[in-house]
Each structure stands twice: as structure tokens, then as C-alpha cells.
Assembly symmetry: C2
Homo-oligomer: 529 residues x 2
């Protein structure tokens, strides 16, 4: 496929106008062509109008038609996998094997959400029958279902150029819900975005989708991104990235004449709690697991464990010693962008200067090893010190983590109480210890969207039961998840029909249940047949 | 019960401090004792701390215990019904029979939401089993359920002193979800609020609920209300009232260091569409129905139909003539407060001065008939004029409505397209006309939360399938409803447990399903047994 550097407007391309910027290979610092032209505000209006027109038709599509569209996107991504992976590798420095896995996950996700659309999983059909004899007034027939919100703007993530990007989870869930999508790609991987965007455009065309069901505008987040969020036809926003950028979108959306929901996943420090018996039995094994989780993908995961609370004692000492030796022996890796790498270096340097913080390992990139090299770093401090310094809760995006030694379980619970909202929280314990330490589980439930037992937070399954979300500031709205089929629910709203004749109802709500959907009828659940 | 005029702080009362204000009988303008003392910011902090502490225990309550609490509140309200209704009648001018009906509805609602808590209707249990043989990596066991958000601040409505007030829908749904509640009562009916608040306090005590599961602070919305919304322990807000006040709460919540969701129901004009064949067959009957709906409760319903679109012709002329005579013959009624009545008078006067608007009926209160008397008003205009003047879409809260004559169906659809978000939209048509006019239904689905066929929008059923919500500005978040069991979902968030041993899971998620809940297991729905 030829790359042109132009934005996608429905089935056409935007004109070359305004400033242009190329991708940069983070490993070498060398630009990669072509230049990517920033969209104009006229392009924003054009994409908005196309999306609004497309929505009028697309929201009436059956779940089966949406499924076919999503499956077709997946098939096109697979057919063009080698080219996509090659370009993504050049633009992000992520290894080819990792990108192949991410592509497979992206396609699995598209198909799963398409299947959810076809099965009506998220339609929430409810029927309350009329009761003409009710006193003092007859009861009318009422039926409700979920319908799509309208056009959704999706901001791509830097760290998942495929799974949280142009055809990633936000796009897949919005399309499954019946919402047109306008993507603002991440500037770190514009070529990958163009490749994928063109395939989504092709799938839309070949599936007879209304023009405007998908557009993609290159450009600066503060200009084009905010203009998209403010556009009156846009009804919701999906975002994965930093807290600073996410909050800017939240504020812009809340200040609109018509405020709209923003679903921003803004990362977290993903605390890990290692209890005494687990330390005694498995200190070295847990250290190895944590090392893998912290340094996976050069630490560039929203679920990277940045805080490790250990119950002080001989086991904790063994864990820290093992982890320090593993971290110190970790070769530096290419980070996603030079900017991100500088931010990581600043964050690590800041940590090492905080009073009471010991630096146990700090890997420096070799001279001449390449650009944007991030080295692993390990710090430790006491719970007392942690409780007295809120800077120690800040996320340092990269392969760094802080061990906090707790003299008592009570101190550990105090630390939990002080934590901000988290995507995940992990407990290493024996099963008996976990049951006995019920307080810890209960307290963490109020702080995180996902609790992991004897595992590691990296690795987010795309399933029905996944929650990839959590109380602010992990996400803008802790009532949502950006991964798993529940992600589709973000883009839906309920509508009730009162006393409608059967023939005028959407087929989802007809009494005979022609689509064979699960329903709540007069308060009783009925399964799909 | 003795009224003291003091706020409720858990199981105690706040001290008398700061300014005080009594209720006023709107029919006479005469104050009704006692004086109600405004809460202080220290009271806000005290209520917040109590609620946070209560949440730690209350969120672990079983659904059965929450059900018992809600049923007990209902029983106490019924036992004290005569005193509550008598006071509410004095404070609001609403007729005794209406208030008796509202009390019954309030108790039905408390019991229905309690039953929903006991049945686990809103728990959304999902289980995805592990697959140790999955390649390239084993798949972990994942289980998710909905958990309560945290303390909720509830702002009472003026127009429903019981059903949308201290123990109304927002409070019932928050308690059913497992969230403590702090109520900011409406200044129009403080005595009713104190009576009901004391009964909720009593029920909490007698059911062994943690202190702070319920508090109630009198005071000014701009001071005490905003202070409550900004309090860090508060995790969500429920509100029913004006757009101005609702938007102020939304803005305050969005500007917090930790933004929180606001569920504000801000009313709407509830358009009604009357098609040609229905007019031909039932013009006078529909006029009578509309008259009843517009003037019910002196027009003080969020679902009062303020816009009536008719297909021009002889039928429309008959409808308008009949409606004009009925409106003109309607005796004025006591409105909820003098302030609301003045606002209504200004709104009606403003409408009558807009170019192209004909005043077809305007009932003036008799001299000496009493204070705060609102008279019915009927206006008409052309669709052309309507399309050219957005002021004609403004809600005038009271017994007034505007008939818009449409020369064509196309003009009617243009008007729909121009409408803001609505709680309801109503269509009068023959069934054949409704099916043939599918476009109208489809367009209205995008604008309103509830579509009514051959009925009237007033009268909001408390059922599973009800949506009392709609796109902004009808509500702050069109993805929510404030009536029906779905209202409980506003105050919940999902949490996933990964690889937990069965004994450490919440009982809702245990493999053996000891609570016999409906679940989604590996993507297949399983019914409660």
C-alpha cells in the first residue's frame, strides 16, 4: 500500500494543507517518510458532517451487519499483517513478535465485539406488559433497549499502535454499538495509522457502510483533537494516554454547550502487595515475575506495576535482592518516542532525589546504543516515608518500580487508603493468607478496577468479565471499562417505547422476539432461544 | 412528630447556627414554622466523614439487608402518611389526593428497588473460566460484578416533595446500590423533608445500618449544595430541577480535582406529534387528553407537554379550537412557590410577545383568589416561524403549551431535527400511520428517552423498562434514567477478580453460585435457579 500522508474523510482523502510532520524511528532518530499533513478545521467540520449523516443510517444496521463489518476489518488487517507490523516496528521500536501478538489480539477483539453485536449481548431488552385493570390507573406496556449515542471521537494510544489505536478497542466498541468513529491517530505512528485506516475505509466501502462511518484526521491534539471534541455532532470520546492530555479532553467536553462523556484511560501505578507467607515461600519467583512485568515492553504498559508493597522480613529482603540483581542486569530498550524517553529519565531522576528513597538499580544506556533507550530502575523506601510523600504515588511511565517496606499489615492498609484510583491491584499471598486478609481485598476493591491474585497486572484479557478501568485518575469515569465486551456499553443509551403497536416497534422489542434475544420480561430474565 | 428545623447528621442533629428560613404556604403567602437553620461547612464535613465511614460497612451489606432497610423506610412512610401528606399539602399547595398517590408511588419505588437489590438484578455477574492450555499464554480465570461507587449527594425536587425528594428515587436507588446518601432538601418543603428524613434516620437505626448511611443538610444550594458536590468523599450526585441549577452542579463536579458523575434531570418540553388520520378521527379526544396532561398539577411536571405539532388541516383546526376552549375554562391553580409562579408569568408573557405567535387562551388569576396562582395558557404558531426562532423551544414550567402547525410531514421532521434532547416524545396516529411514518419514530429515538404512542407523557411508571432520561439538556447524561430499576445502575462500577481462589471471592462470584444469581458464564447467559 502507498502511503500519502493524508487524512481520511469517509471514502475520500483530505487535501494536503497546513503543517506536516513525519514519523521518526525512535531507535535511530531518523525521520521516516512520508510527511503527514495536519488536518484543518474545515476537515473537522467535513468529518463531523459525514459522521452525522452516516449515523442516521448506521444506527439502523442490524447487529449482524455490524458483525460483518468488524469481521471484515479483522480479515483485512490479517491479510496485510506483515506490512502493518513492519511499519509499526519502524515507528515504535516495539519488537516484531510483540506487534504480531498485538495484531492478533486486535483482530480477536474486532471479532468478539462484532459477535456481541450480532448476539444482542448489550441490548438490555426489557419488557413490562400492560395491565389494563390496575387501579387507580391502567398500566401501559413499556419496552426498552439500548441504542447508540452518535459519532464517537477516538484518540489513539502511543503504546499500543494496533490494539488501542485506529482499529483498536475504542473503535471496535463504538462500531459494535452502532456509532460512527472519527480517529485522531497518535503522532508516534502515523504510517501504521494510515495503513490501518485505509483498511477500515476499504472494509466500510466493501460492506456498504454509509460514508462517514469512519474518518481519520492527522494533526495536533491541542488543535485538531480539541476541535473534534468540541464539534456539536460528536456525542462521546474515547482516549488512552496521559493524565494531562486526558484531563484536557475531559475539561473541553464538560465545557461544551452540550457536555458529552469522555472515556479516558489515563494509566496508573498498579500497586502489588506481597504478604509474608508468599514471601517466605516464593520471594525469588515473585521477584522474577515482577521483573518481567515491570520491564515488559520497556515498561510502557498502563498496567506496569510501579509500586510493590512488601511485608518486611527475611522474605522481603530476598525479594528485593533478587529483583535488584534482575533489574540491574536488564539491557536498556528502545522506548516509543524520544519525548517519552526524556520524560522517563526526568521521572527516574526525580525519584532518586526524594528523601528516604534508596536507588537499588539504575541501568544507564550505553553510549552509541541508539536513541531513546530507557534503562530499568528500582527504588525502595519505608511505608512511613511513602505515607508522608504523595510524590511517591506518581506514575513514572517506563521500566521503573518502587518497593515499599511495610512494618505491619496496618501500615499496608493505610497505604492502600492513601492510593489514588488504579486500573489494577495485585496480591501475592497463600490462599489462606488471602482469605484471612479479607480487609486488604475489600479496601482494594474500592480503589481498583481489577484485582489480580498471584499473578501480574500486565496482560489484559479481552473477555466479557474484563474491567480495564478504575476510579479517577486511572480513568475519567470509573464506571466504565475500555477492554472487554462491556466497553461497548459506554456508547449506548436506553430508550423506552410506551404502548407501541407491535408492527411499529424495532424488531428487537417485538413481542414474538424474532431476533431471539435474552430479555427481562416483567422482571423475570428470559434466555435467548 | 415534632419538627425542630435542624439538619440530620447520621443519628444526631446539627446545631442551630447560621441563617434560618421557614416554609411558606404558597396558597396564602404565610410562613409555616419552624425556622429551618442552614447547615454550615462544618456540617458538610461531618456528614461527609460519616458517609465515608458508613460506606466502608454499608457496601458489604447483602442485597437482602438493603432490601430490608428500603422496605422499612416504606413501612414507616406509610405509617406516618397522614402527617406527611398534611404537611406537604401546606408547603406545596399540591392537593391531598395527589400527595397520597405520590406517597404510595414513593413506597412502591422503595420496595421495588429493595427487591432489585435482593435479587441481584443489577449485579451483572460475568465469569470467564481459565484455559491453562491456551496458546501462546494460558488464560486466567476472570470474574466481574458491579459494586457501589461511594457516598451520593441527592438534591430534592420542588415538584415532587415525596417521589423525587428525601426518600425518593435518587435516594432509593443509591441505597439499593449500596451507597450512603446525603440529601440537600428543597427549600420549598422543609417540614415534609424533616418528617421524611427523621423516618429514614429511624429506619437506618432500627435496621442496624452504620451511622452516616443517611444525612440531610438544609441550606442554600449555591453554598451548602456546591460544598457537598465538592466534598472529596462524594462520588456521585443526583438532582432533579432546573437546567440552570443542574448545569451549575455539573460544572462544579467536572472542575473537582477528582471529577464525579452528576445525574441531573432538568426537564424538557416533551413534544407531541399529532398526525392527520388521528386528527381526523380523534381531534377532540386528543385535545381533551392534552388539556389534562398540560394542566395536571398546574403543569408542574418534567413531562408536561409544552409543544404540540399538528399536521395542518380541518382536524388540526378542530383540535386547536377544542383545546383553546378547555384551556380558557381551566381555573387557576396554586403553584409550588411564589418564585416559580413569577417565573411562569414571565415565561408566558415572553411567549405572547414573540412575533408570529398567537395567544389562544390565557387564564388570569382572580383578584383575591390567593397567592401564587398560575393560569393556563395556549399559544400557536406556524412550523416556519418555529423553525426560525429557537426561543420557542424553551421550557415554560407551568400549565402552558404551544401548538405548531406543520404544512407537511417534511416540515415536522425538520422541527424534530431542531429539537434539543427530551425526556419524552409522543405520537398520536393510527397504527398504520405510525408504521408508515417510521422516519418520525426513528428521528425521535435520537432525541428522547421515552416515546409514547397515543398517550400522554405525564405519568412516569416505576418499572424495569422505564427510561426517565434523555439526551442533554433533558438530563446531564443521556445514558441514564432517574426512574425505574435501571436508575440503580448510575451508582455502580464494575470490578474484576483475576485468578482468585473461590474462598476469597465475594459470595456473588463464587463458582457454586450460592446466592443463585443470573450470570454470563463464558459468554452464555445462565438464569438464576
Amino acid at each position: 500500500m502507498n502511503l500519502s500522508g493524508l487524512s481520511i474523510l469517509g471514502q475520500t482523502r483530505a487535501k494536503a494543507a497546513g503543517p506536516a510532520q513525519s514519523a521518526i524511528n525512535p531507535a535511530t532518530g531518523v525521520p521516516i517518510g512520508p510527511d503527514y499533513f495536519w488536518a484543518t478545521t474545515a476537515d473537522v467540520d467535513a468529518a463531523g458532517e459525514l459522521a452525522a449523516r452516516a449515523f442516521a443510517e448506521f444506527r439502523l444496521w442490524t447487529g449482524q451487519k455490524r458483525q460483518a463489518l468488524l469481521h471484515h476489518i479483522a480479515a483485512l488487517l490479517e491479510a496485510n499483517g506483515p506490512a502493518i507490523v513492519e511499519r509499526a516496528n519502524l515507528e515504535t521500536g516495539l519488537p516484531v513478535a510483540r506487534l504480531q501478538g498485538e495484531l492478533a489480539r486486535t483482530c480477536f477483539q474486532l471479532r468478539l465485539y462484532g459477535d456481541a453485536a450480532a448476539s444482542g449481548l448489550f441490548l438490555g431488552i426489557r419488557i413490562d406488559h400492560a395491565d389494563p385493570n390496575r387501579k387507580p390507573l391502567p398500566k401501559p406496556d413499556l419496552r426498552s433497549m439500548m441504542v447508540p449515542l452518535g459519532p464517537v471521537v477516538v484518540f489513539s494510544a502511543s503504546n499500543f499502535p494496533l490494539a488501542f489505536s485506529v482499529a483498536g478497542g475504542d473503535t471496535a466498541s463504538a462500531l459494535a454499538a452502532g456509532c460512527p468513529v472519527i480517529v485522531k491517530p497518535h503522532h508516534g505512528h502515523p504510517g501504521t495509522s494510515e495503513l490501518v485506516g485505509l483498511l477500515v475505509q476499504q472494509a466500510a466501502r466493501e460492506n456498504g457502510a454509509p460514508e462517514g462511518v469512519f474518518s481519520m484526521l492527522f494533526g495536533d491534539g491541542r488543535e485538531i483533537g480539541i476541535a473534534l471534541v468540541k464539534h456539536p455532532v460528536v456525542k462521546a470520546v474515547g482516549f488512552t494516554g496521559s493524565r494531562l492530555a486526558g484531563r484536557a479532553l475531559m475539561d473541553a467536553a464538560a465545557a461544551r454547550p452540550e457536555p458529552i462523556p469522555v472515556f479516558a484511560e489515563m494509566g496508573s501505578v498498579n500497586p502489588v502487595f506481597v504478604l509474608a507467607e508468599a514471601l517466605e515461600q516464593r520471594a525469588e519467583e515473585i521477584a522474577a515475575g515482577l521483573h518481567g512485568s515491570v520491564t515488559l515492553g520497556v515498561g510502557q504498559f498502563c498496567t506496569c506495576p510501579g509500586l510493590i508493597f512488601v511485608e518486611a522480613g527475611a522474605g522481603a529482603t530476598r525479594l528485593v535482592a533478587k529483583l535488584a540483581s534482575l533489574m540491574a542486569a536488564t539491557p536498556p530498550g528502545t522506548m516509543l518516542t524520544a519525548g517519552l524517553c526524556s520524560a522517563y529519565e526526568r521521572g527516574v531522576a526525580g525519584f532518586s532525589q526524594i528523601g528516604g528513597v534508596k536507588t537499588l538499580a539504575m541501568v544507564r544506556p550505553n553510549q552509541g546504543a541508539g536513541h531513546a533507550q530507557g534503562g530499568a530502575a528500582l527504588f525502595s523506601t519505608s511505608a512511613e516515608n511513602f505515607l508522608g510523600n504523595h510524590h511517591l504515588m506518581n506514575e513514572v511511565f517506563g521500566p521503573a518500580t518502587l518497593v515499599v517496606e511495610c512494618a505491619s499489615r496496618d501500615q499496608m492498609l493505610k497505604a492502600v487508603n492513601q492510593l489514588e484510583g488504579q486500573l489494577t491491584a495485585t496480591i501475592h499471598a497463600t490462599p489462606a493468607e488471602l482469605v484471612a486478609g479479607r480487609d486488604l481485598v475489600i479496601w482494594l476493591t474500592a480503589k481498583a478496577g481489577r484485582l489480580v491474585f498471584n499473578g501480574y497486572p500486565t496482560g489484559v484479557e479481552v473477555t466479557h468479565a474484563m474491567t480495564h478501568g478504575g476510579p479517577y485518575p486511572a480513568t475519567s469515569d470509573g464506571r466504565s471499562t475500555s477492554v472487554g465486551t462491556r466497553a461497548i456499553e459506554r456508547f449506548l443509551r436506553p430508550v423506552s417505547y410506551q404502548s407501541f403497536p407491535d408492527a411499529a416497534l424495532p424488531s428487537e422489542l417485538m413481542e414474538s422476539n424474532p431476533l431471539r434475544l435474552s430479555r427481562l420480561v416483567d422482571g423475570r430474565a428470559e434466555l435467548a432461544q
